[in-house]
């Protein structure tokens, strides 16, 4: 009979390739970032000695704070919109679709083209002479093309919500699919109409999927760089754009590193608070 030590060493053996990749590709660069953020730029190299100046600059400057705030706000809006739109779709596939597999494949079709192409597609749809504007002009609903569609936070939210839709649909679908159908029948049997049944059984039991979807979207979109750069304009610029500028144009690596780490910390704290409050809400609902 294998003892515990043996099976745990076997476990680590199986994990080894992943651990190596994680160590080399994640932990080491992260450590490097931390070290870089504690330096000061001096010409093409770093000045001697360690300093917390970069963090002072990150937290002290109002324009940086605005960018952090805006990134979180846009990302929160994207999360809200995506989850709200994904839920009915996931619900449809889980409860009403006949050919689930085909639907699930169809939902991933947008991902068969590159992310960049999809962002450009939205640029064409939302642009000044784009699909929406020319259609509205043709219908004589407007005289002048609408300028409010592109190069603002709205465009960023629309584009990101579309880009991340499948990441919200799939976890919600899985949690809905997992719900034992006899629980729904039991709720009906005990007097619930469709709406009450949804609110008392389906929604609470699908919350793990909803929370998973929210985290899955909020975390990466806060740091999204391509979408705000292409469709965000000056009003839609997010923190990742500033970080890119520090590394590529300005050449202030320590400041870029500090901005990245602070942004990571903010996301971690918000995600943590979100999870904790979701858990507390689930407990209170019992």
């Amino acid at each position: 009979m294998p003892n515990k030590g043996q099976s745990s060493s076997e476990g680590y053996g199986l994990l080894a390739p992943t651990l190596v990749v994680m160590g080399v590709a994640l932990a080491a660069p992260l450590l490097l970032m931390v070290l870089t953020s504690l330096q000061a730029q001096s010409g093409p190299g770093f000045a001697a000695g360690w300093t917390l100046d970069q963090y002072g600059a990150v937290l002290g400057r109002a324009s940086y704070r605005l960018l952090f705030l805006r990134s979180v706000a846009i990302s929160a809006a994207v999360t809200l919109v995506t989850v709200a739109l994904a839920y009915p779709m996931a619900y449809f596939v889980a409860f009403h679709a006949k050919h689930k597999f085909i639907w699930l494949v169809a939902l991933t079709i947008p991902f068969w083209t590159s992310y960049l192409l999809r962002v450009f597609a939205w640029k064409i749809i939302l642009g000044y002479g784009g699909v929406i504007n020319s259609a509205l002009m043709r219908l004589h609903l407007i005289d002048q093309p609408l300028g409010v569609l592109l190069y603002n936070p709205f465009a960023v939210v629309v584009t990101l919500a579309h880009a991340w839709a499948a990441f919200a649909i799939l976890p919600i679908y899985v949690s809905l699919e997992k719900i034992d159908r006899s629980l729904l029948e039991a709720a009906s049997d005990l007097g619930d109409g469709p709406l009450r049944r949804f609110l008392r059984i389906t929604l609470p039991l699908s919350m793990p999927g909803v929370i998973g979807a929210a985290i899955l979207i909020f975390v990466p979109t806060t740091g999204d760089y391509v979408t705000p750069a292409l469709v965000g304009g000056t009003q839609g610029t997010m923190i990742a754009n500033l970080i890119e500028v520090q590394f590529n144009s300005v050449g202030n690596w320590p400041l870029g590193a500090a901005l990245s780490l602070v942004s990571m910390a903010i996301v971690a704290v918000i995600a943590g608070l979100f999870l904790a409050s979701a858990r507390a809400a689930a407990k209170a609902a019992r």
């Binding site: 034992d180 009906s188 049997d189 007097g191 049944r197 039991l205 609902a285 019992r286």
Partner: protein, 350 residues
């Protein structure tokens, strides 16, 4: 007017009817069982009464009210599901209170009702227990309490004891019967376990391939089955092909081939039998005895069951053994004797 009235109800999904022209009348306060092998349509019938399936034709009425167009949440029925369907995100108290919330009772009244039903199913003090911390037997009781607490007109039980081990099942059978007597609600039980149906119910309907073969009290069902399927499904039964020779007064005479000429009470024949009809002679193993003379045979196999034993006796000219239940015979060749008044004549299915 009976309490639950099922009139000419049929239902098919795709293919042959699962429930085929079923007629059934259940009285108020009755403990009624639908008994049949899996796939016989009993669960579908139960689900139509609960409202989860719609009959293709026919009507279901409860207490004089037609139910066909009434959705499940508005029907005066509650169900104990085979899987129990305990809400995993709610504790025992909230599971049981689930169907009462709509009534908007004052808090202390709600608590009193839930606690009373918890006491009835002997789960006192377990209200705060989380759903995933319950044993199989406790889950069964919670499911029962949750359905009972609504005090609806009919309680539907879908194989409620199927998931429990044998000892727990037997204990729950006794309790289920006691609970039904106490609350006085009509219980409609679906089961494939004949012992369960016979020991619990006032009356039993035996279903086979979507049809109801016989509705009777357990004793009649055992002693006077109406056809081969019922006789074979409930307990063990020996069948012999025979020809009806004569009906003289209260005695009928049959030619049972290898068993010779036998007489039995005429009332034991299925109605409508005529002289020279091919019939199926049936007798329970406990009514076949080893004797000094009679049909000769050899014991091919025996099973010791404690109080009595079961024997398979090979008889010349017959491929199936004769089942005998009783005490051990003398060694060597045996002779079988049949208790004439326990012989019954069923319609031949060929």
């Amino acid at each position: 007017m009976s309490f639950l009235s099922i009139a000419n109800v049929s239902k098919s999904f795709s293919g042959p009817p699962v429930v085929n022209d079923v007629r059934l009348e259940v009285a108020r306060g009755e403990f009624f069982a639908l008994l049949g092998p899996s796939g016989c349509g009993k669960t579908t019938l139960l689900r139509m009464i609960a409202g989860f399936e719609t009959p293709d034709s026919g009507t279901i009425a409860i207490d004089g009210e037609a139910m066909n167009a009434v959705p499940p949440n508005l029907r005066p029925t509650n169900m104990v599901f085979q899987s129990y369907a305990i809400f995993p995100h709610l504790n025992v108290f909230d599971n049981i209170a689930y169907g009462l919330r709509k009534l908007k009772l004052p808090k202390d009244q709600l608590r009193a009702r839930v606690e009373a039903i918890l006491a009835t199913v002997r789960l006192d003090g377990l209200g705060g227990r989380a759903a995933d911390q319950l044993s199989g037997g406790q889950r069964q009781r919670v499911a029962l309490a949750r359905a009972l607490v609504r005090e609806s007109k009919i309680l539907l039980l879908d194989e409620p004891l199927g998931a429990l081990d044998k000892r727990l099942r037997e204990a729950m059978q006794v309790e289920l019967r006691a609970i039904q007597r106490k609350v006085g609600i009509t219980f409609l039980l679906v089961t494939h376990d004949q012992e369960e149906a016979l020991s619990l119910s006032d009356r039993v309907a035996v279903m086979h391939q979507g049809r109801i073969l016989q509705v009777a009290d357990p004793r009649t069902l055992y002693e006077r089955p109406s056809c081969r399927e019922v006789a074979g499904f409930i307990g063990e039964m020996n069948f012999f092909h025979a020809t009806l020779r004569e009906i003289a007064g209260e005695t009928a005479t049959v030619n049972a081939g290898i068993l010779g000429i036998l007489t039995l009470p005429a009332v034991n024949l299925a109605p409508g039998m005529k002289i020279d009809d091919h019939i199926l002679l049936a007798i329970r193993p406990e009514h076949v005895r080893f004797a000094a003379s009679g049909v000769a045979g050899d014991v091919a196999a025996s099973t010791f069951l404690g109080e009595r034993s079961h024997f398979h006796v090979k008889v010349a000219g017959r491929s199936e053994p004769v089942f005998v239940s009783g005490s051990a015979p003398p060694a060597g060749a045996v002779h079988l004797e049949f208790t004439p008044e326990k012989l019954i004549g069923l319609p031949s299915d060929s």
